[in-house]
């Protein structure tokens, strides 16, 4: 579904991604690991269409369409979801209003009618249970005053509502205690289907105990320097990233 070819990207004039190649197929779970500052969030943001990131070279196709040619909201409606490393707060905008607008935009894009208020609330209740999110949270403003863990749960809750084809989870495990981690992972696994895929971005192996990847990629200094099966994650856990740095000759 996703084919990334030789992707280069700049932010504030500085080249961060220096030729990424990646292929993701339906049903797969990919883990992208790497030390801080290696470009993992940059890759996620570039794929999601953040305007601050300038693609200088390369191609990305998503179900055969040119992803880089689409506005960010269109990418979302085409089925790409980003669980943010740092979800922002939007004061005064209620979660209910926000999600209802988002979901209806997705439906409109697919030529479907808007959901009736009753049906929407029912769906929301169902999905809230999946990530065991506090009922009260959805009555509040988007992420406003949420704890770190609540923000991450809220991201997965939104993912559950929008049912993306490709979900990119950027450090969804950071800031979670073990119980929250289990709940979030359970949510992600419950949403897994043969026709969707997940990219899990993390720099700890911990999350991968719960969300088991088919492939593990190591991103270092703007390039994917190593790809293998899930055993690579264990190896990284054991040896640390210095081992990789040596392998790439630094």
């Amino acid at each position: 579904m996703l084919i990334v070819k030789d992707l280069h990207a700049k932010v504030e004039g500085k080249e961060i991604l220096k030729g990424i190649n990646l292929e993701v197929n339906p049903g797969e779970v990919h883990a992208i690991m790497g030390p801080n500052g290696s470009g993992k969030s940059t890759l996620a943001n570039v794929l999601a269409g953040h305007e601050n990131y300038e693609v200088t070279k390369g191609e990305v196709s998503f179900f055969g369409k040119d992803l880089l040619d689409m506005d960010a909201d269109v990418r979302s409606k085409e089925g790409l979801f980003l669980s943010f490393q740092y979800p922002v707060e939007i004061p005064g905008v209620s979660m209910v209003n926000f999600l209802k607008t988002a979901l209806n935009e997705h439906r409109k894009y697919r030529g479907k009618d808007e959901l009736k208020a009753g049906d929407f609330l029912k769906l929301m209740k169902e999905k809230k249970e999946l990530v065991e999110i506090d009922s009260q949270l959805t009555n509040r403003s988007v992420n406003e005053g949420f704890s770190g863990g609540e923000k991450k749960k809220n991201e997965i809750f939104q993912m559950a509502m929008l049912e993306p084809k490709l979900a990119i989870l950027d450090e969804t495990d950071s800031g979670l205690d073990i119980d929250a981690l289990r709940i979030v992972a359970h949510g992600v696994n419950a949403l897994k289907r043969p026709d969707n895929a997940t990219i899990v971005v993390t720099h700890y192996q911990r999350l991968l105990d719960y969300i088991v990847p088919d492939f593990v990629h190591v991103l270092y200094n703007g390039r994917i320097v190593k790809s293998a099966g899930k055993e690579l994650a264990f190896e990284l856990e054991e040896k640390g990233y210095d081992w990789i740095k040596k392998e790439v000759g630094e």
Partner: protein, 481 residues
């Protein structure tokens, strides 16, 4: 001494009557302003002497006044002799029902999203529609009349309740209060009058929609709302003007008087034509609005959403005269393109234990300038007076300006005055977050701005809140991305 005054009065008045030459049978007046024009308007409206006196006093004072220049506004030269001060739609006869209203007019209201009939049926809102300068239709009067509530055009009130008008007119906004108020007092053509008798809770929201239509017509509306002891009323004012090229002057006056324990809520959605993207055209809106909390424990609330006008000069204020009186000012002001707004409030605490709250949310986009100007004054005898002010500015882009001018004058040391101000930029990350969930940039801006203004929007009556939300979004279209 008294006799002497009477004599003087008589002499001066009769003298002026000689100067009165204009033909009162014509429906329109030529351009220009002089004392004869003031007399013509008064005579045209068949006004009693006290009204003519009120107008003339204002006019003579106005001649000596100068246009205020302290606001953060660039106001083009206004030629007051190039304005027509009175025009009335051709009046056929008294209308019994909406069916008799000109279909053209009805369809205009329809386009503005003001389905008169639907409102009448569904919302139970009495509508006093002002087209140009003369009220065309007043509805629901009978229902209101049963409770003794008077809700009519100003001119009708002058004819039918001259004593009430005379008693309260100018009590909150004296005829010579300021340049624009004096101009209004001299030439105002119509407006609304509301009287809520003692102990009566007005069962429905009273609503007036204003609209400018005829070219070159300055609009001078005057509204007087009196809430007698222990009464309550919620009043809605909304206006929108069609596209036009020529700048138009609008100088309205609104006076509210709240007697003992009375409560008045005044909500406005202001959407006068703001001019085009290049700053051409648009309405000049110089409004004087003031509420007098005359009685003890009286309450006045100003809620406003301002999105229109090329230039806005407007400070809905409250004088907290009665002990324990309460006043609030809740405002959202949006400026885009080349719009300029200098708006805010004055809270003057005179009575003991008086309490006022100011929440102002400015939103600027394009090349516009948006200023908050607020005065909180606590008089020496206003023991335990309290004020809290919160003034927030939100910037969209970096070619617009936001300015805050708070003035605080406290002459009583048992009072507490607090002021908070913030300025923020609409976050790219907030917009991206919305985009990532499938919401377009335009909708995202609307959503974020509405969230920012929530506190104020929530104070508006339901049907108005919905309209206001749409307005905020529409007025910021194309301002980001």
């Amino acid at each position: 001494m008294e006799d002497q005054n009477k004599l003087l009065d008589k002499v001066t008045k009769s003298e002026y009557q000689y100067g009165f030459v204009t033909d009162i049978d014509s429906d329109a007046l030529g351009k220009g302003l002089n004392e004869d024009v003031v007399r013509w308007i008064s005579a045209k409206k068949n006004e009693p002497q006290f009204m003519l006196d009120f107008r003339l006093k204002a006019y003579r004072k106005w001649l000596e006044m100068e246009m205020p220049d302290w606001a953060y506004l660039k106001i083009p030269e206004i030629d007051y002799q190039d304005i027509i001060y009175y025009s009335a739609p051709k009046k056929k006869k008294e209308l019994e029902s909406l069916d008799e209203v000109d279909p053209e007019l009805l369809s205009t209201f329809e386009k503005l999203g003001i389905p008169l009939e639907e409102q009448k049926l569904l919302a139970g809102v009495a509508v006093d529609a002002v087209m140009d300068s003369v009220s065309v239709k007043t509805t629901f009067k009978e229902t209101l009349a049963e409770k003794g509530i008077i809700f009519s055009s100003f001119s009708e009130a002058v004819q039918e309740h001259p004593d009430l008008v005379q008693k309260y007119l100018g009590m909150a906004v004296p005829s010579t209060d300021n340049y624009f108020a004096a101009l209004n007092a001299a030439v105002f053509s119509d407006g609304s009058f509301v009287y809520i008798p003692k102990g009566v809770r007005c069962p429905m929201e009273l609503s007036t929609y204003f609209r400018i239509n005829a070219a070159n017509t300055g609009q001078f509306e005057r509204t007087l709302i009196v809430a007698d002891d222990d009464s309550y009323v919620s009043y809605l004012e909304g206006c929108t003007a069609p596209m036009r090229d020529e700048n138009q002057l609008h100088a309205a006056v609104v006076e509210i008087i709240a007697m003992d324990r009375a409560e008045v809520k005044y909500s406005t959605v202001q959407n006068w034509y703001p001019g085009d993207k290049n700053g051409k055209g648009g309405i000049y809106n110089f409004v004087t609005k003031r509420g007098l909390c005359k009685g003890e424990s009286s309450k006045i609330f100003w809620n406003q959403v301002e999105t229109g006008s090329a230039i806005t000069w407007k400070y809905p204020s409250c004088i907290l005269l009665g002990d324990n009186s309460v006043a609030e000012f809740n405002s959202v002001a949006v400026t885009n393109n080349y719009q300029q707004a200098d708006t805010g409030t004055k809270m003057v605490h005179i009575g003991k234990n008086t309490k006022s709250t100011i929440v102002s949310k400015g939103i600027s986009a394009g090349k516009s300038d948006n200023s908050y100007r607020g005065l909180v004054r606590v008089a020496p005898k206003a023991e335990n007076a309290r004020n809290f002010s919160q003034c927030d500015s939100l910037l969209l882009g970096d070619t617009c300006g936001a300015h805050t001018f708070p003035y605080i004058e406290v002459s009583n040391n048992s009072s507490v005055v607090e002021h908070e101000a913030t300025t923020s930029k609409i976050g790219e990350d907030q917009i991206f977050y919305c985009n990532q969930r499938g919401i377009s940039t335009q909708d995202a801006v609307g959503m974020i701005v509405n969230g920012y203004a929530r506190e104020v929007i929530n104070k508006l009556p339901m049907e108005f809140a919905v309209e206001a939300q749409k307005l905020l979004q529409i007025s910021l279209e194309g301002s980001v991305g």
